[in-house]
């Protein structure tokens, strides 16, 4: 019930006119993995998934959330092998497969980076109800507004619960453990 309320608040604040049920988070996608291979949602079928949307030029919540995930996966040990852990970039222009692979080498090797064309990223973000927007800066750089949540999805691809950097380690590890066992 708490999960439903949290998700409801998130969607209301995203500005959707209707509040979708959590069950509508997730769906089919076509992307490119960090090794340059085409992947789809079916590539990851059969295992529960942990999905985080972010970008590598983000200096604050992206690396710290990936570091949290790394600690949580380490705490789970081999149990975490039963999970897909996916970092999907919302900045495909800068986050090429090779760049994602290099960046993610600093974190748990079970975290896999996914990128795609602008259209593919827009489509997967829509499926997961992830908000992102490119913000131009005067020096030619840009930053990205983006949803900071980590999504837990069961093996059938249904949304279970969100996690974030604010989630206490013990709670996050237990949620991941029960997800892996589901």
């Amino acid at each position: 019930m708490a999960v439903l309320i949290v998700a409801g608040i998130m969607f209301t604040q995203f500005g959707h006119s209707t509040v979708p049920a959590p069950a509508s988070i997730g769906g089919p996608f076509q992307l490119i993995d960090q090794d340059g291979h085409a992947v789809t949602d079916r590539t990851f079928a059969g295992k529960p998934s942990v999905i985080f949307f972010g970008y590598t030029s983000c200096p604050d919540i992206c690396p710290t959330t990936l570091a949290d995930l790394t600690n949580w996966l380490k705490a789970l040990g081999p149990t975490a092998n039963k999970l897909n852990v996916l970092f999907i970039t919302i900045d495909p222009q800068r986050d090429t497969p090779a760049h994602l692979r290099e960046y993610l080498s600093s974190f748990d090797p079970r975290i896999r980076g996914l990128t795609g064309t602008n259209e593919q990223i827009a489509a997967v973000a829509k499926e997961y109800r992830v908000y992102y927007k490119r913000i131009e800066e005067e020096d030619g750089n840009y930053t990205m507004d983006h949803s900071g949540a980590v999504y837990l999805m069961d093996r059938a691809g249904h949304f279970v619960a969100p996690l974030s950097s604010q989630t206490p380690d013990g709670v996050a590890i237990e949620r991941l453990r029960s997800l892996a066992a589901s």
């Binding site: 604050d60 690396p63 710290t64 600093s106 507004d145 900071g148």
Partner: protein, 154 residues
């Protein structure tokens, strides 16, 4: 035991003064391989009677220095460039995770945990001060010296 620990840490705390401004415990995070940007946090206290403003700075290890606000609105992280950060007389501002920060863009090399990296801060009135950032772990949510200022108040 805890007290001994904090006293020990205090001895290493890096604080800087320019004019009536005090810059306490600047810190940064180790960066993932190939990262384009790094971040900086610190506490700045204005002990004077006139306002001042952080308007820029530089670091040796990156091309650009930027000031940013950062907010979470409805689960969405938003970062915006700032022209400056005001520090009123008597005010202490905290640049910390999840909030306003300095950002270093165009890294010349990755930052590694437990190294110290040099930079400058430029204030509208007080001028330019040289500082050093302590580099914490990749997922650090606070600098190591946050506690010592409470201990060090005389």
């Amino acid at each position: 035991m805890a007290i001994v620990y904090f006293v020990g840490v205090s001895a290493m705390a890096a604080d800087y003064k320019i004019g009536s401004l005090e810059i306490m415990a600047p810190w940064s995070r180790a960066t993932p391989q190939g990262a384009a940007a790094a971040i900086g946090y610190m506490t700045i206290k204005n002990n004077g009677t006139t306002p001042d403003r952080l308007i820029g700075g530089s670091v040796e290890f990156a091309k650009d220095f930027q000031l940013h606000s950062m907010t979470m609105e409805g689960g969405v992280a938003k970062m915006r460039a700032l022209d400056g950060i005001d520090i009123a007389p008597g005010q202490t501002i905290e640049l910390k995770p999840g909030g306003s920060h300095v950002m270093f863009v165009g890294l010349k090399h990755p930052l590694k945990e437990s190294e110290h990296v040099k930079g400058t801060l430029v204030f509208e009135h007080a001028g330019t001060v040289q500082i050093e950032y302590d580099v914490e772990g990749i997922g650090a949510q606070s600098g190591p010296h946050d506690m010592d200022h409470m201990q060090m108040e005389h």
